[in-house]
Symmetry: C2
Subunit: 158 residues, 2 copies
DNA sequence: CTCATTTCTTAATCTAGGTTAATGCATATT
DNA sequence: AATATGCATTAACCTAGATTAAGAAATGAG
């Protein structure tokens, strides 16, 4: 738990780094973002004074996100594990991880990519739920989902 | 903290209801969704066995979400406040609330609606950050954001 | 088993937002 | 001051996915 002074442009965490740290913004403004395969940046969140920024993902030790200072800033760095001392915390963190993934998907992935990710992540649910609900969860229409599925089959990517 | 037995189609919580409850799924499958102004349903999450479902929104007592059973299910109902006994929990809940809003926005709102919501919710950040970052946060291109802004000005909806 | 309702698929058309490219502004750098 | 680099805006075109519509398949109720 130490205090860090940052100047505009400093990068606190890179994709692939350990994600065991949590940063509390004491002053200034940071932001967290991903960069997709095409090199495009997608801003996941802004973190002004008083907010916490962290990559809270399901993968144990690989950050999905870059965290960077937009302005000169002061942050407190904590170990994430110190937050994990009770059950409700763990459940809440899992929820955040799922939502983080969902936001990144919605921002950066096409219908096909979203569907592929969904069936990989929730294979049991795919079986138990009507197509129109999956479409709605993915943020597309049932008609578009039909198209996606037949496109996938033709490509043997079933 | 009581146990509820649900049959397929039972609605646990409606938009506008108190959101002070958290449901732990012991068996079956539930889902949480919003309905937009046009009557269209947007599925926010599925909740199979072992998951928690709840509307964790910033507004104190008005759920944004409907929660409903897709299959016959058994859930444990808890008071949400019982989860709120320490600081890190409150911070985590705030993060979830923000992410919940963000997912709903990304799923159901047009570029104009997303921008309007953003400037209302984070007026300070709009001033401190380049346009291209706001566009990226909204999930649109800087060019599209330019269009949106000039469209808004013409409509006096500035 | 039959009729009704909902779900899924396919196809034709439409549109919001993406892509590309050119231009004007700022802010840096020498 | 002059040049360079990045940011914002505008406009012409393009494309993924929405909308609309109709038929086929599945599910359900009596």
């Amino acid at each position: 738990m130490k205090k860090l002074e940052l100047v505009k442009g400093d990068v606190l965490q890179r994709k692939g780094d350990s994600n065991s740290k949590v940063f509390l913004v004491e002053q200034g403004l940071l932001y967290a973002y991903t960069i997709d395969e095409k090199g495009k940046e997608h801003i996941f969140m802004f973190a002004p004074k008083g907010w916490i920024v962290a990559d809270i993902s399901l993968a144990p030790n690989t950050s999905e996100l870059y965290i960077e200072a937009i302005e000169d800033s002061v942050v407190i760095e904590k170990k994430r594990s110190s937050e994990l001392n009770n059950t409700s915390n763990i459940k809440l963190e899992r929820r955040i991880a799922v939502l983080q993934n969902r936001v990144i998907m919605l921002m950066s992935a096409s219908a096909i990519e979203r569907y592929s990710h969904f069936i990989k992540t929730y294979p049991e649910i795919v079986q138990r739920v009507p197509q129109r609900m999956i479409a709605s969860y993915l943020g597309i229409t049932p008609e578009a989902l039909s198209k996606v599925k037949s496109a996938k089959m033709k490509n043997n990517k079933k």
